[in-house]
Amino acid sequence: MAFACSVDGLGAASARRAGMTTPPALRPSLAVCGSVMTFALLVERAGFFAAVMLTVLVASLGSRELGARQAVVLAVAVATAMAIVFIGLLDQPFALGPRF
């Protein structure tokens, strides 16, 4: 903790001195971090397909350029392709759907 604080202090001081004070961007941080957490929460409960779909959907919130319809199409396409590659071709022992 002390190490983290001193790293942050050192960085902040030198950034101020160099005139660079960029505030961290919240939206992309939350979207990317949240999408990985979504995958972690869902992959063993809801299955691989749903986990990948929701991961893509949550990640897509990080950019304002991707519309809702495009995001859904991308999520379904990525989940389908990855299910074929990882479960179909690479024979990974992932459950495709939820386990009851």
């Binding site: 190490f3 790293v7 942050d8 050192l10 960085g11 902040a12 030198s14 950034a15 160099a18 660079m20 960029t22 961290p24 961007a25 939206r27 992309p28 941080s29 979207a31 990317v32 971090c33 999408s35 990985v36 957490m37 995958f39 972690a40 929460l41 992959v43 063993e44 691989f48 986990a51 990948v52 991961t55 893509v56 959907l57 990640a59 897509s60 990080g62 950019s63 350029e65 991707l66 495009q70 995001a71 991308l74 999520a75 990525v78 989940a79 990855m82 990882f86 690479l90 024979d91 990974q92 022992p93 992932f94």
Partner: protein, 503 residues
């Protein structure tokens, strides 16, 4: 003698079964390695079960093909989307991606392919000529020298880091500290695990690498819309500008020489080779363009160095059973599963396996060049996929690759945390590369440090009384001092210019 060995090797490697294994390995390795977030470690781990039906020679030939195929695939993602497949491709990101941003991705990939081929070919020839004598001399290098060698590697990471030397040193120390987390093998005591059982085995390399590089890069790119990945409308033909061929060729030869030497030393391997080659190019290249802003030497040197060392790192792996990194460890495990016990007797007991592997590496490198040069344009077209479609796919692939390794959701949580931490560090001007190298070397540097002290009965002067160790430590110290002084001079000039401007 060496020719007889090579003849046996080619006779083994050119059988249809082994040729097919090599081709399948190279193709699969590149295919999966090119997917961002899936480097050689994940690729080998994913494909390991498929080799169990092959003979030991076929299996190791295929796995080696996957290794250098995925390594080249990792370089492709490093150039195109700034995501290193593994630590050794980290430095390729610096100039390779800068070239891609200038619309020269095709050239960067072609230089990487040719550099990898030259490095791989010369590395393989050296391996064939020097395997037996080098194995016996590598066995004489002591723990105290390994410690000094790794200290040199850490200094190389600090020297090549962009920005402040102090910040790079802080990041290296952070990497060494993160590597301490987990159970102490000598005392059995858990260290810095905070009562979390999953941390008893330590922090994994993959969650750290994917978080610090992959995820934090995605956040940083999304956070700066003006600085978004350039997706050039038309890619250049992969031909160099006048003068660049000569510069690339010189850097390739320097990288190959450095990589071949470093690869033989156990514990060094492709990571240190690529970092050391970049440090060397940084010292020798005056530009323009300067290293870090799209210089061709920054791709040619490290790419040939890491491929050359990937070939020569098979010497300590096969003859001493010492892996040079996580990939080596996986290959070692695969060999043992196939009933081959790596050790000094492997060249004598399994000549067909050893020399067949050596020959197949060269054949695999030819296959990579033949396959990848025509495909350069195809790979480069990946850079034209709009970023808004690419990054959610990359996140999903990274999650799947990470989960497939250990089936551990804890690794995913760690990656998410490291992603945000990595992004915050970037906003404060801290480079993640020295942290990763510090982390990778943390365990071996501690093991060798302890071993050296045990051998010297706790006398720390052993590090300066051993000639090789003393030389290496002196080189490291001088390099660090010179970089610090050079930076101080540059900072002084910059502040002087600023004060002149304000007057």
């Amino acid at each position: 003698m060496a020719l007889d060995h090579l003849a046996l090797g080619f006779a083994t490697a050119l059988t249809p079964e082994h040729l097919l294994a090599c081709l399948a390995g190279v193709l699969l390795g590149t295919l999966i390695g090119v997917l961002p977030g899936l480097g050689p470690v994940t690729t080998i781990a994913l494909l390991l079960p498929f080799t169990f039906s092959l003979t030991p020679t076929g299996a190791i030939i295929m796995l080696a093909g996957i290794y250098y195929g995925a390594q080249y695939g990792g370089s492709i993602t490093a150039v195109l989307v700034n995501l290193p497949g593994e630590a050794s491709a980290t430095v390729t990101c610096l100039d390779g991606h800068a070239m891609a941003r200038q619309g020269r991705a095709g050239l960067a990939l072609a230089v990487a392919a040719i550099g990898s081929f030259v490095g791989g070919t010369i590395g393989t020839l050296l391996l064939a000529a020097l395997a037996v004598p080098l194995a016996s001399s590598a066995a004489r290098v002591e723990a105290v020298d390994y410690t000094a060698l790794m200290a040199c590697g850490l200094v190389a990471a600090i020297v090549i880091a962009q920005g402040s030397v102090v910040k790079a040193m802080v990041m290296t120390a952070a990497g060494l500290a993160l590597g301490i987390v987990g159970m102490d093998v000598t005392t059995g005591q858990p260290r810095f695990t905070m009562g979390i059982p999953e941390l008893v085995d330590g922090i994994g390399f993959m969650p750290l690498a994917i978080g610090l590089f992959g995820l934090s890069e995605i956040i940083a790119t999304l956070a700066s819309p003006g600085d978004r990945l350039v997706t050039p409308a038309r890619l250049d033909r992969p031909w160099p500008r006048p003068g660049e061929t000569k510069r690339a060729a010189a850097a390739t030869l320097r990288g190959t020489a450095l990589g071949s030497i470093l690869g033989v030393l156990p514990g060094a391997g492709p990571v240190i080779a690529s970092f050391a080659s970049y440090a060397l190019e940084k010292k020798l290249t005056s530009g323009p363009p300067v290293l870090g802003s799209g210089a061709i030497e920054g791709v040619a040197g490290p790419e040939s160095a890491n491929n050359a060392s990937a070939q020569t790192s098979f010497v300590p792996l096969l003859t001493l059973g010492l892996p040079s990194g996580p990939v080596g460890a996986l290959l070692l495990g695969a060999l043992i599963v196939h009933g081959v016990q790596p050790g000094p007797s492997v060249i004598a007991k399994e000549p067909a396996l050893f020399w067949g592997l050596v020959a197949s590496m060269w054949i695999g490198n030819v296959m990579l060049l033949v396959l990848n040069l025509p495909l350069v344009g195809w790979w480069a077209r990946l850079a034209q996929v709009p970023y808004r479609f690419l990054y959610p796919t990359t996140v999903a692939l990274s999650c799947t690759g990470l989960y497939a390794l250990n089936h551990s959701t804890f690794d995913l949580w760690l990656a998410a945390i490291f992603g945000v931490v990595g992004y915050l560090l970037r906003t404060r001007g801290f480079e993640p590369a020295p942290l990763l190298l510090g982390f990778v070397l943390s365990q071996p540097i501690r093991d060798n440090f302890n071993r050296a002290l045990v051998f010297s009965n706790g006398d720390a002067s052993t590090f300066v009384t051993h000639p090789l160790s003393a030389t290496l430590l002196t080189i490291a110290g001088v390099a660090l001092l010179m970089t610090a002084l050079q930076q101080r001079g540059e900072d002084g000039c910059a502040s002087h210019r600023r004060s002149d401007d304000t007057q």
